[in-house]
């Protein structure tokens, strides 16, 4: 087999060349044409003698359908003659269906690749009783795509199909549709009308008979049953009448052949969306010959047409020219606010002490952050603490509740949900107290206080602190 240039395939060729010329039928036809033939049927019958079930017309010398001897396979023969022994012998050479690609190289235009090839169906296949079906399939890398089919339908073949449809149409016409007036269609209307006229003056008739009872009695039950049976057999009858439905989907061409004296050449063109990896496209064909819906012959597996895709994008330098980087900066704004709570309470009270001023200050901070275009507020940390007065456990619970309370208050103000806020608590803020002790000039015995602060247990530390001389000053200030 030679590949290159314009490639064409002999989809079908069965040759019987006397009694001894059965060989591998791989033939090279010219520079651009390659034919691959399936020879198994012939090789199984080396003497070239086969029994023939004549489904064609021998006299016209056209193509016939035959069963190979001993095998139940279909063959296509060009002609059959009777030899001296009275056996029917296939003779002659059959022209193949040829598909020719006019261009080996195809280019990408606007993201699409236009494939083109000619399908040449010879006159010998243009039998009025047959239908030739050809399905192209495109492969690239690991993907594939089935293209629309080409069909050459004989006139008698199509007539047979249409007769089937006509039979089915008559059957359909015999079915009374659900849309008709049931009473008119399915009752003995004449009797029903007379009965109604005689016995009904209003909806209730003589002796209490009802209209429904009357209709039920005069229903043609046999007709209802017959109609139901017909409806139930719709699919079965369709299959029986229309053995080979006319396929209208996925078909590029379905041409009707009259007379079958001329070849059919169809120029097939298909746009394929170019995707990454489409450097080489391979095109194969499958199909067969059909007679009245019955598959006479499957085309042997065909050779492959190859297309090489050229694209300007291959020449592009795909290394990046510039990068866009996103640089993040984290800024923390910290402020200490003194929000007072009543003893033991965690409710934010704006009217208590300096709370209003402090809250307004925090709000102003939030506002300035919101207005800032450079940064985005992504979190607010709230840390609350209590003075050392009281037990450590109580102060721990209280500081947690106060942090939550403040969080809810400002979450409501910002209207951005509570997920923005994180809370933490310091049960007793001894560190702050220590700084006060150091900074407050009114405290005289600072050293004593600082010594007490070194006590480990906070509750013991508080008790000892309360006994110091400057505790009074401290409790006022802190």
């Amino acid at each position: 087999m030679r590949r290159g240039g314009v490639v064409s395939m002999w989809i079908l060729l069965v040759v019987l060349w006397g009694c001894s010329q059965s060989r591998r039928f791989v033939r090279i036809i010219g520079e651009d044409k390659v034919s691959i033939l399936q020879t198994s049927e012939i090789e199984r019958n080396p003497y070239g003698k086969i029994s023939v079930e004549n489904r064609g017309d021998v006299r016209r010398g056209g193509v016939m359908a035959a069963d190979s001897a001993g095998e139940n396979e279909q063959m296509i023969l060009s002609a059959v003659v009777e030899d001296d022994e009275g056996s029917l012998v296939a003779k002659g050479k059959l022209s193949p269906v040829v598909v020719t690609a006019n261009h080996k190289r195809v280019s990408v235009r606007g993201g699409k690749i236009r494939l083109g090839f000619d399908v040449h169906i010879p006159a010998t296949f243009c039998s009025e009783e047959w239908q030739v079906r050809l399905t192209p399939k495109l492969f690239w890398e690991r993907d594939s795509m089935e293209l629309e089919r080409v069909m050459a339908t004989g006139e008698l073949y199509r007539s047979s199909q249409m007769r089937g449809y006509e039979k089915n149409r008559k059957y359909l016409a015999s079915i009374i549709p659900d849309s008709v007036d049931f009473v008119k269609a399915f009752t003995y209307l004449f009797l029903l009308e007379n009965f109604s006229a005689r016995n009904f003056k209003d909806s209730l008739g003589e002796f209490g008979v009802t209209e429904d009872e009357a209709v039920e009695y005069y229903i043609k039950h046999y007709l209802v049953n017959l109609n139901n049976r017909r409806k139930a057999r719709l699919e079965e009858v369709f299959r029986r009448c229309v053995k080979d439905p006319i396929d209208t989907s996925g078909i590029r061409l379905d041409t009707i052949i009259r007379g079958g004296e001329g070849d059919i050449i169809y120029r097939y063109s298909q746009d394929v969306r170019a995707v990454d990896g489409m450097k080489k496209l391979r095109l194969t064909f499958s199909g067969g010959v059909f007679a009245y819906g019955r598959r006479l012959y499957d085309f042997p597996k065909s050779d492959t047409l190859a297309y090489y895709v050229s694209s300007f994008s291959r020449f592009l330098d795909e290394s990046p020219l510039y990068l866009t980087a996103r640089v993040e900066r984290d800024v923390v704004v910290s402020t200490i606010a003194f929000i007072e709570f009543k003893a033991g309470s965690w409710i934010v009270d704006e009217s208590l002490g300096e709370n209003n001023r402090e809250i307004e200050r925090i709000k102003a901070n939030f506002d300035s952050l919101q207005l800032n275009k450079e940064f985005v507020t992504d979190s607010v940390d709230i840390v609350s603490s209590c003075s050392p007065e009281g037990s450590y456990a109580t102060n721990s619970r209280l500081s947690k509740k106060r942090a939550e309370s403040v969080k809810e208050y400002f979450a409501s103000y910002l209207n951005r949900g509570q997920k923005l806020f994180k809370t933490d608590n310091i049960p007793e803020n001894w560190e702050l107290l220590r700084r006060y002790i150091l900074e407050d000039e009114n405290i005289q015995f600072k050293q004593q206080l600082l010594e007490v602060l070194k006590t480990d247990d906070p509750d013991v530390r508080e008790e000892r602190l309360s006994k110091c001389k400057d505790y009074g000053v401290l409790s006022i200030r802190f």
Partner: protein, 197 residues
């Protein structure tokens, strides 16, 4: 000459007619004419040498009706020397069962029948005279032609006792055979019309 037969013909006929009319009037008055009451006549009887016949039916329920009928044939045909006649006076009372509705569709019937007959010259020169009584049963179909008219078809079977005398000819009074016997015979071949009130 069978003078007793011929001379008494008018008196018997008049008597039977009177009985039938009185019975019919009594029947109608008692039952009361209502919707679906019917008056029928059988065409086959008319074709049987012009037998006059009528039947009155009164529905008593959706499925049951009661019918009183009578036939009368005083006629004689042919030459006076060899007449053909099928003289009859018959009264029957029966009930009909209508599986669907009175006077509509199929029906079965059963009832009593009394008949005085005198016939001869039809299939042979002999003649028969006597009476019969017994039970009848059968069935039929009433086809609704119009609001007021039915076409009725039916047939039945008579089981009863016949007491008759056979005469050698239609004009002579010589009895050949006198007997009383139980008979089963087809009866009431009906192809007639009914008028519905």
């Amino acid at each position: 000459m069978c003078t007793s037969k011929i001379h008494n013909k008018s008196a018997v006929a008049a008597g039977l007619l009177r009985v039938f009319l009185m019975a019919a009037m009594l029947f109608c008055c008692k039952a009361g004419f209502c919707q679906n009451s019917s008056l029928s006549t059988n065409g086959i009887e008319w074709l049987t040498l012009g037998t006059i016949n009528a039947q009155v039916g009164v529905p008593v329920s959706r499925h049951v009706s009661v019918h009183l009928g009578g036939t009368y044939n005083p006629f004689s045909f042919g030459k006076s020397s060899s007449p053909v006649f099928f003289r009859r006076a018959e009264i029957q009372l029966n009930g009909r069962y209508w599986p669907w509705f009175v006077n509509s569709g199929w029906y079965l019937y059963g009832g009593a029948d009394w008949c005085k007959f005198s016939y001869g010259g039809i299939t042979s020169k002999s003649s028969f005279e006597g009476y019969a009584y017994g039970l009848k049963a059968g069935g039929g179909y009433a086809l609704l032609l119009t609001k007021r008219l039915n076409l009725e078809m039916g047939a039945g079977l008579f089981l009863g006792l016949a007491d008759y005398t056979k005469y050698q000819c239609t004009r002579c009074g010589d009895p050949v055979l006198k007997r009383k016997k139980f008979i089963v015979s087809p009866a009431d071949f009906v192809l007639g019309v009914s008028f519905l009130f």
